[in-house]
Each structure stands twice: as C-alpha cells, then as structure tokens.
Point group: C3
Chain length 368, copies 3
C-alpha cells in the first residue's frame, strides 16, 4: 500500500495508478577561482503521471514534468509481452548505468554520478526488447533522439545492458554492464559537460562540440548487507575523431559510494529489474517514530581531458545525510568538495585550468 491512487479490476485486466513527485531544492555553490557564487532554490521535479495495464497484457506509462514552468515528457511508453521478451515502444531511458536506471526517488544523493550527465545519458524515443528472471535482466534498444527533436535533428542510438545477481543471508549483490553507440544527425555534434555536485551550480567542465559519433561502455557492481549498501560504476566513452589530429578522445568516469541506515533499514536491490528499489522505514513519523536516518559518502571522478581536448578532470567527495519521514517522503542534505584539473577549455577555471568547488544542497522530496 502507498499513497498513490491504484485501482485494479478483479479479473486483472485493468490496473490504473496515478504517479507523481515533487522535489523542492535549495543549493549553494562556490569555487576557489571565485567564478561561481550560487545561492538559489529550485523546484527540481514537479511531475504527474499515469501508468496502467489495458486488457491484461498491454502496459503503459506516461509522466510529464512541469518544473520551471516548462513541459518535459518523461517516461511515455507502451509495453507488450512477446515470446522473446517484453517490447517497449516510446520515450524511455537508454539502458545504461545502475544509477541512471534507478529512479531519482531512490538514489542516495541529490545528484547522480557525474558521468551519467557528462556522457548525456537520457530518455530517447525508441524501441526495446527486454527479458529477465528473478536475478538477471537483459535489455537491448534502438533510439532516434529526444521527443523534442525534429526528424532532421534525430540521430541514431543503440544501447544494451545486462545484470546478474544473487541473494545471501540478509543481503544481495549484483553485477552489470552496458554499452551505448550514438551517431548524431547530419551536421550535428556532441559535447560533454558537467556541473559541480549540485544542479544549480555552473558547468566548470566542458568540451566543445567535438564529434558526431561516440561509443560508451559501463560496468556496475552493487551490494547490500543488512543496513549497509555499496555500489560502484565505471564508464568509458570514445568520441570518434574528437581529439587532436582527428583521433579519438577517450573520456571516463565513475564512482564508489556507500551508505548505512543508522536506524537499521535496508536499501533493497531489485535483481529482477536490475535497479535499487524503495527503502522501507521501520519507524515512520506517523507512528511516533523517528523515521529512517541514513548516512552516505561517495567518491566520484570524471575525466573529460584527453588527446588535446581539455574539458577537465574533476574528483568529488560527497557526504550525505537522508531522513526518510516515511516510505514516500524524505529530506536530503549533501555537502560536496570537488578538485578540478586540466580544465583549460572552460574560462572560469583561469589560465592554470585548475579550480576547486564546494556545494551544499537540500532537498524536500515526496512522491505518490
């Protein structure tokens, strides 16, 4: 049971669920070169959505985000089971990265790993085939760009991901890997950029538009043992002819994170979907409890400097404290410190291409 409106018919032919979420954020960011002095607030997510089953086998989900008074279609797809697996048609995430696949409602920190932004992981319009069992998943997909692209602006993206895991006493583990190949539309090019560790902060790392074709692979590992959880990812991207002398520039990034529920809860690994799931709360505040409290730390690196491209290298330490009032509401506090090197392509870092930055973020989150 949850706060969402969920209705189903007795014969199982129909299900209907209203979705939604609100994230009210505040953020502060400052860098050592004094180019960035941010203190602001943001409605980071303001979504309404519907998901359901129409006549048994056909599923759908549609969710739109209205944050910032703009409209963004998020998940918008139809699913149909075949004997080869589930076919999904519409707008959805390319199957890459454990943290990207995990809903932002359930990730440990306010921001995901730097590489997930820098390498442009996002929803695109496409078709996928997915399959899986109790402890493994497989998904392969082909996409044609964002829902806001015109036909002329659409490139081609191929992507796939596999995960495999197991359970043990009071815990679970999972390993995974994914690939993505992208080719831009005629005349278009890709660039790679990243903010310091808050969405309101500036992009102190950035390459120019350097390539019309890239290939990325990523590796994932995750484990949960009682109240403790840890995960790590690594990804490498080759931008074709993106470096000097028309040779590939190869960028990479990854993170290691660990979290611990002081109050004893667990962060569940959902092996059948290949993602982290919603944590239970032992003693929610409506029962007079203290909610769930979690401390977490993350070490994150992203390197956009290679072969004559000086997008920059950033090492970040993030410390987080999460308070789950109940299963659907939480307050998050994050502090981060980043060290930046070889970021000559961004003027804000000065002539030495070096910088450092600190951010502090707060989030008030609810979903239904």
């Amino acid at each position: 049971a949850g706060p969402a409106l969920t209705l189903a018919t007795d014969d199982g032919l129909f299900e209907f669920k209203l979705r939604g979420r609100l994230y009210a954020d505040a953020g502060w960011a400052h860098d050592n070169d004094d180019a960035m002095n941010v203190a602001g607030t943001e409605l980071r997510a303001a979504r309404i959505g519907i998901e359901g089953k129409a006549w048994g086998k056909i599923g759908y989900r549609f969710e739109a985000d209205f944050a910032g008074n703009t409209t963004t279609v998020n998940d918008a797809f139809i699913t149909y089971p075949t004997s080869f697996g589930k076919v999904t048609v519409g707008n959805f995430k390319t199957p890459n990265s454990l943290e990207e696949q995990t809903s932002s409602r359930f990730v440990t920190f306010i921001e995901r790993g730097a590489f997930t932004d820098a390498f442009n992981l996002a929803r695109q319009l496409g078709v996928s085939l997915s399959n899986g069992g109790d402890n493994w998943t497989f998904k392969a997909a082909v996409f044609r760009g964002s829902v806001s692209d015109t036909a002329d602006e659409q490139g081609t993206t191929l992507a796939g991901r596999v995960t495999y895991g197991g359970k043990f006493d009071n815990g679970a583990w999972m390993l995974g890997g994914s690939v993505r190949y992208q080719e831009a539309s005629e005349g278009a090019q890709y660039r790679y950029r990243q903010r310091t560790y808050h969405h309101l902060s500036d992009r102190l790392l950035a390459t120019g538009f350097i390539t019309d074709e890239d290939f990325m692979y990523g590796l994932e590992a995750a484990a949960q043992m009682g109240a403790f959880h840890a995960s790590a990812e690594w990804a490498s991207l080759s931008a074709k002819d993106g470096g000097s002398a028309a040779r590939n520039a190869t960028f990479s990034g990854g993170y290691v994170e660990a979290g611990w529920f002081i109050t004893g809860e667990s962060r569940p690994l959902k092996l059948s979907s290949g993602v982290w799931d919603r944590a239970a709360v032992n003693s929610p505040i409506h029962k007079g409890g203290v909610g769930a409290w979690e401390v977490a730390a993350k070490y994150d690196i992203i390197d956009l400097t290679d072969n004559g491209v000086f997008g920059g290298e950033m090492d970040t330490i993030v410390i987080g404290l999460n308070w789950y009032l109940n299963r659907h509401a939480r307050v998050m506090a994050n502090y981060s410190h980043s060290t930046i090197d070889d970021a000559f392509d961004v003027a804000a870092n000065g002539a030495d291409g070096e910088n450092s930055a600190d951010t502090f973020g707060l989030r008030f989150q609810i979903d239904w």
Copy 2:
C-alpha cells in the same frame, strides 16, 4: 468497461473519468524531386485529461497534450443542457467534417483527409448549441480563435453541422453537411498548406497568406455493412479576394475510403453523435486471440490551385493495415503515394510545379 479510471456516485450526480493517450510514430517520406528525405520518429500525442459530471447536469472535459515537450490545450469545455439543446463553452473543434469530428483514436489511417489540415480545421475558443436524437445531430457555434491567440489576434468563426442517418440489418448509414465562415483579426491573413501523407513529411503544397476571410462547406457520407465500412467527404473553400485581380480563389478537397475487418469486427457509426466510434475486438490478445485485423484504402485529393494561386494539387492513394490488440491498443501501418501538379508556389517542386512523393508510417497507439 475499459482501462480508464471511471468513478460515479450512486445518485448519478457525479462522474469522474481520467483520459489519456499515447501515439508513438515512425515515418519515412521521399519525393521524386529529391527535396524531402525524411526518416524520423515522433511522440505524436501524449495526453492526459479529465472529464466528468458535476452535480448532474453540468459536464466538463479538459485534456492537454504534451507531445514534443510543448503544452497544447485540447478539449477544454463546460456543457450545460437547456431546453434548446446542449450549450458548450470553451475550447473545442469547430463542427466540420466527419473525419475531423471523429477522435483520432478511431480514424482508419494515421492522418486524416488532406482538406481537414489544408482548410485549417482546428479547435477554437467558443460557444455552441447542439441538439440531436437517436439518428441525427445538429450543432451551431461561434468562435474567437485559438487559446494561444491574444485578444488582438482573434478573428471570428461561425460554423455549423448537421447529420442524419439510419440503421439496417447489421449496418448503418449517415449523411451530413457543414459550413464554416472565418474572418481574420485586423491585419492577419490565412494561408492553406498541406504535407504529403505523414505528419513528419514536408508541406509540398502551400499558398501564401492570401486572404482575411473564407467560407467553406463540406458534404459527408458514411456507411457500415458488417465488417465493411466506407466513407466519403467533399469540401470547398472560397478565399475572398484571394486570387488574382482580387477575385475569390476557390479550393477543394475530399476523399473516399473503405475498410474491411478481416477478423469480422465492425466499425460502428454513432448516429446520435455523428461520428465513427471505437471498434470492438472479437478475439483480443489477452484471451489468446489474434486481435482484430483491418485492411483499408483511401483516395484523397486536395486542390489549392485556382485563379492565379498555385498552392498545388495533390492526389494521394493510401493503403493501411491496422492491428487492434484489444479495444484500446492498436498498431497502424500506412503507405501512401501522392502525385502533385501545379504547385508552383512551393520551390521544392521545381520549375515544373510537379512532384510525387511516397511515405510510410507506423503508429503504436494506446488510450485509456
């Protein structure tokens, strides 16, 4: 019963229904003059809406479309029954054309007839009075332009439609007619344009902005006999002083289409509303069936060339195959071939004003 969330109170005073639809499209288009080479995808519709009854007699409907990351208000109206008929206030379609009045969820092909676009049939903000019986409908309305127009940009539109039909053994027929008169706001003018037979293709037919006043009439005929259905429409539009020497330019368009459900279903004519309705599916896939399969063909013409205006003339043949997985989900495939003449006003058609084009479209559709 259907997949939509529908709630009603026992006293009948309240009804509440959540609406929505997703169309995930792919399209290819190419012309003989090699000016158009389209291969793309599109979320053509991504809608959420609500309709209901508030305290018995007052009805409302509100639906918005977020496709392409833009916001478009679709139906947004309040209805109230009077002794003269039902009054509707708000944003809704001008009452013209059987195919335009029929929901896009229930039309036979991915695109409607060319004249419905070329003659700018659309929703406007206005007031209507409608009446009807089991086999007839009447609607008259006055409008003031689109919901996105400012007061300065609003013209005036008058429109009306009547339909009359009958039932026979395992079938039904309907005849109808409609008119529309439009006057643009001060300083504004109308133009008339049309794509080849897919929304992602280019407009190879187009006039300039040639008039600030036009009058259109349309005639309709439709019939259903068992698994077979057919319909035809014809419309003529006079653009005042739109031709050379400040004389009217008169454009026209229409179509004949026929479809046949291989699997034996019927496409129902809803005589009390003057539209085509949702088809039943005898053997939906969740019961292990093959769904409903329909083949259809359409011959469509549009002529925007008259009296010194060379918008162009286009004859199109469309062939379609529809697979209805159940009552609310279908997959559509359309192939079209168009022949274009006298389209000197569009540079893409070259010096001879002639061209031809082929399109192929796929749609994955669900509604709830």
Copy 3:
C-alpha cells in the same frame, strides 16, 4: 461530497484528491482616449492537480495551469506538522491579502483588487511556518522568487500574515494584517503596473523599473451576516529610493466590496484558514432549482503616483452578477468603470495623464 475524485484509506493514512478548474472568459474594454479597444476571449485557467496525504502527517499539493498553451506551476508544496506549527516547503502564495489568499474560485468578482496585481503578489518558492486555531491564523515565510527564475534571478522575500475573527448569530467577522519585504536579485528591479478591470484589457497604469527593494503592509476586514457579505482591504507599498532625488515612492491601494445573495445563501468566512470559502447553493439546477444568484459591488482604488513617479491613480467601480448553478459551477458577469489621473508614465493616457475606461467581462467557471 463534490465532483472531485477523492479517495481515502480507512486507517486515515492516505488521502488522494484530483483537483482542477476551467475558466472560459470573454471580455470587452474601451478607454476614453481611444487607445484600447479590446474584444476577446480567453481560457483564463485550465488546471489539473493532485493533493493528498502520504502516511498520515505529510501532506502535498501539486497543481499546474495550461491556459494559453503555456505551463505554469501553481501550488506545489509539501507540508509537515511540527510542534511549532505546520511547515510548508515549495511553491505557494506569499501570505498577503485576504482576497489573494482566497481561491479565485471563491472570489466575488472576475478580477481581484487592483493592488494585489500592482504590488506583485504571487506564488514564490519558499518555506513557511503556520499556526492557528478555530478563529485565528498565523503564517510567516521566506521565499526566493518564482519557479521560473534561475538562481541568479532570485531575490529574497519575507512575508507574514495574521487573522483573527469571531462568530455571531448567523454571521462572522474577521480582521487581519500582513507584511511583505522584498529585495531583488543583483541588477534586477521591480515595477508596478495595473490593467483596467479585466485581464484582457491594457495596463493603463505603470511605473518604470524603479527600485530593487520594497516593503508592503496590508490591513483586512471582512464580515458575513446572513445572505450579506462585505470586506475591505488597504495596502501601502514603499519602493526604496524609487522616487525623485532617490527618496522612497509610496504607493497604496485598497477596496471595499459588498455582496448579497438574492436567493438567501451565505458566503462563509473560514476563520481557521483566514479566507473566504465556497458558498453553498440552496436550490441547485439539478434539483430543478434556479441556482444561487448574487449581486455585488466594489469600489477599488490604486495609486501608483508619488514623489516624481507618475504610474497613475485609478478609481474603479465594479458591479457584478453571479449565477451559481451548483456548488462547483458558476457564470459571472462584471461591468467596471475606471477613472485614471496623473498617469503620465503611460503614453496611452495622452499628455494630460488622464483617462477613463469601461470593461465588461463574462466568465464560465467550473472546478472539480
């Protein structure tokens, strides 16, 4: 009971309600200097929203408006009760003015008092603490600008409001007061403008961007006696260094209004929330009744001329007739006459800075 979909679990942990409203407006406006000749229509509000309770103590509301084919986030907040009162985080109205706090669904005229627009009362992103009892309310809040502002564009707003009232035989009274202090972001400035008494009309009163800091206070009084209700507000705003010789310019505005339900209903004062509430309808049309009929008049003044700033002074008389078909649907008709003086900063008023204007407005309103 009402037309909204409301669901709650037996244990009281969850509530879920779908909200929404449609306002279809028509308006006419003309001024004596013949600078404004408006005749137009508008979908003034087209909203869908959700509100609920997640696990007992945590509440939320999210509503977005799609009128004019644009997206505007309205209420979007999370609430949490503490021992000091209710904490609200997100996007909501600054706590100022009885008429601004009262939902537009329940105000007496199509437009609110001129000062509520002229002094830029609006929703902002912030945090508030509120408390209250059966007959009093208190709310204090700090904000950081609109949800569409970037972090750079966000100023700081502090605001607070108190109300106190009482009940007597077949009636109630309430007094209130509020303050607001605003400081614009670096380089930004405030201006003060007002239309004549219809949203489609022009702004015949306007100052330039004259200050980056202002302070406003407001006083409120309201009473209901049987079928009669009356209210009055006064507000004064000091724009720091906004006048000539870098001295404050002080603007003011207010209104007195009275309404009477011919059919005997009452407009309820909700003392525990400090706002006007939804009126009951004794004899709604679905019971064969005539609905509720209300006549009302308002005298409204706004003065944006002071100390070398000639934004203008406007006195307006508004007469209104409201027909409530049932509790959730009404038709409103308003006529207004405004006299404008000392409005030299707006060219439309001519060299004498004087003008007068008449407006007529119609609204068809439903909410669910």
